[in-house]
């Protein structure tokens, strides 16, 4: 993984930068000791590590603004960081860059039930927002599996999803407002407690921008009333084709479940061995289908889902009878990652999305790749929205095996794009998928995206080395080559 070459001059200026930063922040909010920096050397993609030049932990928007003003003036790179749970290396530090941690932005600022929204600082965890409104029967819908640790600011930066986004949307669909600080220190507010923010939809642009456009210092999200009840169906199938057919039948019947997850045989066994959740072991594919809403609706839809699953050839069919059993159905799925971690020294989690109907084809191809690379692969899948999470098992202590796992992963992602899907559904591009961007986008597409980046950060100081495989200078991107000429197609209809 090639990162932009560190600037020796910046590294040499470290003492001066520390001194300037200590003029902005309290002493203990500027971290320089190597053992303390070590805690920030990687995020959830721990295969890549790098000690940051300095870590700063501001507490106010004014401090963030002063830091970004300083970085702009001094020409220093900056990497924003929430809880560091990114699975794509979005918060990977730079040797010549300052990591800006938002952990001290940990307060909920306003709970507004009348307008059904919460205003929070970016370092508040995803789950804490739900916990703050649960007493009144409300919750925040997007629920990434890291929700106890991941922060709402990070969720915005990555446009995080979760198992319930099939029905309730991703972060971008649940966001109402932001305060952000631009490179140079300017503070901008977008949206608020109303719908459809004025002007261009910069709120939508910021969501999923992976910390390349600005530093988020305040977030307003919509909260929803908790559904009256939720129940789950566990359905086992003799083939992934049959399970895929079941998914298509459910969607085709106009039913949008709250969640619809699929696991393959390897993942089922790994999860069951780990969580002892009583999953059927003699099936090739398992679906967990959750329905939520008023009890009468859930009962009604459960009947229909049961019929559809039977028609699709389900060999095992269980309906959760109570809340404990519903939770038990999910236990194995939620433990799938640690379960795989138990049987392999390391695993590499992929995140492509495909059109749902291509699932059997893609699973078959992954099976073939698995034998070819000699690496095992467990598949868990947000079946409702086509988001695939193959877990490639490898051992980092075996020379060459990480590189092999990465190659295997890249081949899966290329296949996702080839069948009409995309490189990443919810984990982000980061450094991990950066060099694959050319599989999905051509040069013009990528340059256009970078021109947007230039509108926010003309010197590429904010989180450089992420998302874009080639960094073009903004001045070069801004050049325009136009030629005067005749209106083409003289035979076009004109009035």
């Amino acid at each position: 993984m090639q990162m932009p070459p560190p600037e020796a001059a910046t590294i040499a200026r470290r003492p001066r930068l520390v001194e300037r930063l200590r003029g902005i922040l309290p002493e203990d909010a500027v971290i320089v000791a190597e053992d303390a920096l070590r805690a920030y050397e990687c995020d959830g993609l721990s295969a890549y590590r790098q000690l940051p030049l300095i870590v700063v932990l501001p507490e106010t928007t004014e401090e963030v603004s002063a830091i970004l003003r300083l970085c702009q003036a001094e020409g220093v790179k900056i990497v924003p960081r929430g809880a560091g749970t990114s699975l794509s290396g979005g918060a990977l530090p730079l040797a010549d860059g300052i990591t800006l941690g938002l952990g001290k932005f940990n307060r909920i600022l306003d709970i507004d039930f009348a307008n059904r929204c919460v205003v929070a600082q970016p370092g508040v965890t995803n789950l804490a927002i739900t916990q703050a409104v649960a007493h009144a029967g409300f919750y925040y819908a997007p629920d990434p599996s890291s929700q106890i640790a991941c922060t709402i600011g990070g969720n915005v930066a990555e446009n995080s999803g979760g198992v319930h986004c099939l029905k309730y949307g991703l972060t971008t669909n649940n966001l109402l407002g932001l305060e952000l600080v631009l490179m140079g220190g300017e503070v901008v507010r977008l949206g608020g407690k109303h719908l459809d923010a004025e002007g261009l939809d910069l709120l939508g642009l910021m969501t999923g921008s992976e910390g390349l456009l600005g530093v988020i210092t305040e977030v307003t999200v919509r909260i929803l009333r908790r559904p009256e009840t939720a129940r789950a169906v566990l359905a086992g199938f003799a083939s992934s084709e049959a399970a895929g057919d079941c998914v298509a039948r459910i969607i085709g019947a106009g039913i949008i479940p709250a969640g619809m997850e699929m696991m393959d045989r390897f993942a089922i066994h790994a999860a069951d061995d780990f969580a002892h959740c009583g999953y059927p072991r003699d099936v090739e594919a398992l679906l967990i289908i959750e329905l939520d809403g008023p009890e009468v609706e859930v009962e009604h839809l459960l009947d229909r889902v049961r019929e559809l699953a039977q028609a699709a050839g389900a060999t095992v069919l269980r309906l959760s009878r109570d809340e404990a059993e519903r939770v038990a159905f999910w236990e194995g799925r939620k433990a799938a990652f640690p379960a795989v971690g138990r049987i392999s020294p390391d695993y590499y989690c992929m995140d492509g999305t495909i059109p749902r109907g291509r699932l059997p084809q893609v699973l078959t191809a992954i099976g073939e790749m698995s034998s070819r690379y000699g690496l095992r692969c467990a598949n868990v899948f947000h079946a409702g929205d086509g988001n695939l999470h193959p877990l490639i098992l490898y051992d980092a202590n075996v020379p060459g095996e990480l590189a092999l796992a990465e190659e295997f992963g890249a081949e899966i992602l290329k296949l996702c794009v080839a069948v009409g899907g995309v490189l990443t559904g919810e984990h982000g591009v980061g450094v991990e998928k950066r060099d694959l961007m050319g599989v999905m986008f051509n040069d013009d597409d990528l340059k256009q995206q970078q021109r947007v980046k230039c509108a926010f950060d003309p010197d590429h100081r904010l989180n450089p080395g992420k998302v874009f495989p080639v960094l073009h200078r903004c001045a070069e991107l801004g050049r325009l080559h136009v030629q005067r000429g005749r209106l083409p197609f003289p035979d076009l209809p004109r009035f």
Partner: protein
């Protein structure tokens, strides 16, 4: 007189833009032309008519995804979806009648460029939430694509969001991919009669915060309700607060009963079933009850829902008894009709938004729109940022800039 160029293929659109860039000739981008009177009046050298770029290029009901060329008529898309029991969840309106035009001219490109969403926006999200993939021509005459045909996608910046509601100022959109949804098996509407704006908007918010998942939340004051064509609404002879629930039959019955139990205490109420319910929500979506007097100016206000009644009271106080309005989106959207004023009452309208939100002048005669800021004025820092983002797509300012009242 502006000359019109009407390409029939994407490559031709690109060539036209390349020519316009070379000659520095600004273009007015037009689809069906139903919303040409929306925005600041402006003259562009050429009109780029995209209505020749029409047709659905991909529709997979089982994947709930549809791709169409930007000039495809909305009516064609809706009819195709209906054949498969599906619909556009964001329920876009037809704004033609707002400008005195007949229905049916609206194109998908225009709906997306204006980010038009109807009453179901409170539950299902806006047009921008369903816009998952695009192709278009930038002001550099380059074909640009973004997004894809799958819903879950964080590969690169989400340019679809930027283009939704951009009023054609960034790119000439050529192809649009949408997430579509199943049409509900059943729809019913609870009508509460005689509530004032404070109690009406409270009832709407209470329904919105209930587990009943309403998909339409509107309040029509008496004078506005009197102009409905739905018999039970007209005959009410008073204000009407309307709450829609959609879904499987037994669920709709249950949720409607629950809403009635909690909200219709000591209040006269009625229910609208399928056809009448559909008719009322089409009226709300297209603001039909505020349209009959074509001389009236029309504003659209997006506000924090809990501030709706206060905003309405401020508007009545400052602008007098001629004010007519209706609430949609549980009060989060206020449509306001005013007797024609030279400044369209803009100072009062925008002052009424002290609690947050913004206001857009949707209809006024051409002179008034020339004098008034049609779109919400932005804070200086934000305006400068927007300018840079626009320039990133359209450095020469070729596309529709006059419509936004902006300089290149």
């Amino acid at each position: 007189m502006t000359a019109t160029v009407k390409p029939g293929a994407v490559a031709e659109v690109r060539d036209v833009v390349a020519w316009a860039a070379g000659e520095q000739k600004p273009l007015e981008i037009v689809g069906g032309g139903s919303k040409r009177d929306f925005g600041q009046p402006f003259q562009a050298a050429y009109r780029l008519d995209l209505s020749g770029l029409a047709g659905v290029t991909l529709y997979e009901p089982a994947e709930m995804v549809l791709t169409a060329l930007a000039g495809t008529r909305l009516t064609e898309i809706e009819a195709l979806l209906a054949e498969h029991g599906q619909e556009l969840p964001f329920e876009p309106g037809d704004w033609g009648p707002i400008y005195g035009l007949t229905r049916g001219a609206s194109t998908l490109g225009g709906v997306i460029a204006c980010n038009l969403s109807g009453p179901r926006r409170v539950k299902a999200g806006a047009a921008r939430d369903h816009f998952i993939g695009l192709a278009g021509i930038s002001g550099r005459a380059e074909v640009i694509k973004s997004g894809g045909r799958v819903v879950k996608n964080v590969t690169g910046y989400d340019l679809c969001k930027l283009l939704a509601g951009s009023h054609g100022q960034l790119m000439a959109l050529t192809e649009i991919t949408l997430k579509v949804g199943p049409r509900a098996e059943k729809a019913r509407t609870l009508l509460l009669f005689g509530l004032d704006e404070v109690r009406g908007s409270q009832a709407l918010r209470s329904a919105a915060g209930s587990p009943c998942e309403p998909s339409g939340l509107a309040h029509l004051p008496a004078a506005v309700a009197a102009r409905s064509r739905v018999d039970l609404v007209v005959e009410a002879g008073t204000s009407v607060t309307a709450i829609r629930v959609e879904g499987p039959g037994p669920s709709v019955d249950y949720r409607l009963a629950r809403l009635k139990e909690t909200l219709a205490v000591g209040v006269r109420c009625e229910e609208l079933h399928s056809m009448r319910s559909r008719k009322l929500w089409a009226e709300v979506r297209d603001v039909a009850p505020l349209l009959p007097d074509a001389g009236r100016q029309l504003w659209r206000l997006s506000v924090p829902p809990a501030s709706a009644a206060e905003v309405a009271a401020n508007l009545r106080q400052d602008l007098g008894e001629g004010v007519e309005l209706l609430f949609d989106w549980a009060g989060g959207l206020i449509w306001l009709a005013l007797p024609a004023l030279a400044d369209a009452g803009q100072a009062h309208v925008r002052a009424a938004l002290a609690g947050g939100g913004h206001a857009t002048l949707v209809r006024a005669d051409v002179e008034t729109r020339g004098r008034v800021a049609v779109f919400p004025p932005l804070a200086p820092g934000l305006a400068a940022l927007e300018h840079r983002v626009r320039a990133a797509f359209d450095p020469l300012g070729l596309f529709n800039l006059g419509r936004l009242g902006l300089a290149a």
